[in-house]
Subunit: 346 residues, 2 copies
């Protein structure tokens, strides 16, 4: 009999609320014969205030033994900026070598977009997850004095770039439009840019069926708002991917719908699924958060674990739910979760 052993990190702010709905829908969609076990990890701002810990080794070790991780949101204004991001969220992405940060964008019917004319948006960003300016390689000298110098080093390796580029080509080849766009800034960041571009061109030769394209990151933001339908699969660096996927979420239904997977395709470590949105402390505990991004992240999680039919069922349920949202009285976090759970079960 099949089983899923899931680690759950609700985290901060609305994390707890949205994760509860994600689990509700997960329970509803799983076939009877699949045994779901969950273990909750108390990590985030409260834990840090209580103990000073962000992610102790013992918990990092324990997390390794799960099939996957579902994460709500990390971050609170009461914690100095960077402490939880670097000490917990990025620590997990790096420790578990989540080199694919998968972020699909789809403008579902009847959802809000700030764009006039409701363009047909359906693309996926494959963001590199373990290199670039995210490695924590930097420092400061004469800190706090008028002579301070602070550096941030973007690290890029052929090893790291090639594996994410290959993954993106595979994904593009599997989609109907078979189009892959590389986004970088190789006219300024020439060293990293050339590594990315050369790797991209080299791998492209193995995928003649995939049409390719290159855009500077600044130009890409223009197309995200003027012509988002031109994109199919995008592969990009960790920081550019961070920026572009928030913009992508904004134009395709809002950050309340944007799902993501931090994936290690080798299976050496558990992959981690989380909504793109943050902990939104201003609305935490009020039942106002939209759990849809978390529920869609659960779909990505299921697909990663091989439950393709269940993943699709969740996505279809979200699509149907959104199509029927009537702009009337806003539903609570719980009500949206209930509605989705009912849909996937039936």
């Amino acid at each position: 009999s099949r089983s899923i052993d899931l680690a759950v990190i609700p985290g901060d702010g609305i994390g707890q609320e949205v994760v509860a709905q994600g689990l509700k829908v997960l329970n509803a969609v799983l076939p009877q014969d699949v045994k779901l076990e969950t273990k909750e990890y108390d990590l985030g701002a409260q834990r840090w205030h209580r103990t000073g810990d962000t992610l102790p080794d013992a918990e990092l070790e324990a997390l390794k033994n799960h099939d996957a991780i579902l994460l709500g949101a990390i971050g609170d204004p009461s914690v100095p900026s960077g402490v939880l991001e670097r000490g917990l969220l990025l620590k997990l992405r790096f420790a578990f070598d989540h080199f694919i940060n998968l972020r699909p964008s789809k403008l579902f019917p009847n959802t809000a977009t700030p764009l006039a004319g409701r363009p047909d948006i359906d693309f996926v960003v494959v963001r590199e997850g373990t290199e670039g300016p995210y490695t924590g390689n930097g420092g400061s000298l004469r800190t706090g004095t008028p002579a301070e110098v602070a550096t941030e080093v973007s690290l890029n390796t052929a090893y790291g770039v090639e594996r994410v580029v290959r993954d993106a080509f595979e994904r593009a080849a599997a989609r109907p439009r078979k189009k892959l766009t590389l986004v970088h800034k190789n006219n300024v960041l020439v060293y990293a840019g050339h590594l990315w571009k050369n790797t991209f061109d080299k791998v492209a030769a193995e995928y003649p069926q995939v049409s390719t394209d290159y855009l500077h990151v600044d130009a890409a933001t223009i197309f995200f708002v003027t012509q988002p339908e031109r994109f199919d699969v995008i592969v990009t660096d960790n920081l550019f991917g961070d920026i572009l996927t928030d913009l992508a979420a904004a134009v395709s239904g809002g950050i309340g719908l944007a799902a993501s997977g931090n994936i290690n395709p080798t299976g050496a470590f558990p992959s981690m699924f989380e909504p793109v949105h943050g902990s939104a402390p201003d609305i935490a505990g009020q039942g106002k958060a939209d759990p849809t991004a978390t529920v869609l992240s659960v779909a990505l999680l299921l697909r990663h674990l091989g439950y393709e039919a269940e993943a699709t069922r969740i996505e279809d349920a979200v699509s149907a739910d959104l199509a029927e949202r009537d702009g009337g009285a806003a539903r609570t976090t719980d009500e949206i979760g209930d509605a989705l759970a009912v849909r996937v079960a039936s």
Copy 2:
């Protein structure tokens, strides 16, 4: 009697065409008693193909003696990416210590925006111009092999950050809304981020009349499309500013209208004014380019040199011209230049 000694670098692609219109409007707007001298510099792709030069020392020296520089566009697909950008455009920005890269965004009436509901956009981005990931500090090891490592170093100094932050506070204090937003990514780029944030907070104490705000760059892109009216003045790093100002241009009338100034407020070196758009080789020489961004850059140039009334006259002319564009037959580059020249003269 007054005079302006202007260096003109038409550059590549549509550069020549749009610069011609900028000069036409400049001639039309200047009072009789102001003597305008211009000297054209042959720099860009053609020169590089011919001689291998991007910006020889003699020309760099000669450029120093002008009051200001008007630049069209740099870049051509026939030149390897980075050669002209680093060897000419960025070389000028760095050599002349253009630490203020000023990029206003205003949604004029009757202009295209991809945003539904035509929000009221009127903000200015003060982009740092001489530091960050733009310094060319990086390299690669074992280039072209599977063991390649490529780095890009973002350099940030208290000296460099404080002067741009001060300039932004001055600009914010002089505007009706008096609001300044710092954009960075201090939850990940903690060293540079802390330098920026601490400097910002320190200088803020001297400007109690300015209300302040901090946004991560990813979140800022969301507000650019969902709530651009929330911004007044934005101060940010070189790379974030590059990305955000293309997005700003896209939502506020398009890249055809976005002007910029690379400013050295100390006057030690000439400042340089250029449209934000690129050389657009696909439409070069066809009279299709909109010269408005260059004309608006001329307005910034005039304001920088103390011709405030003339700068405003250009901006009003652009505003009136845009208000009367009827979406009928597209005018040529030359026709738009003529129309603006007539307006500013009358």
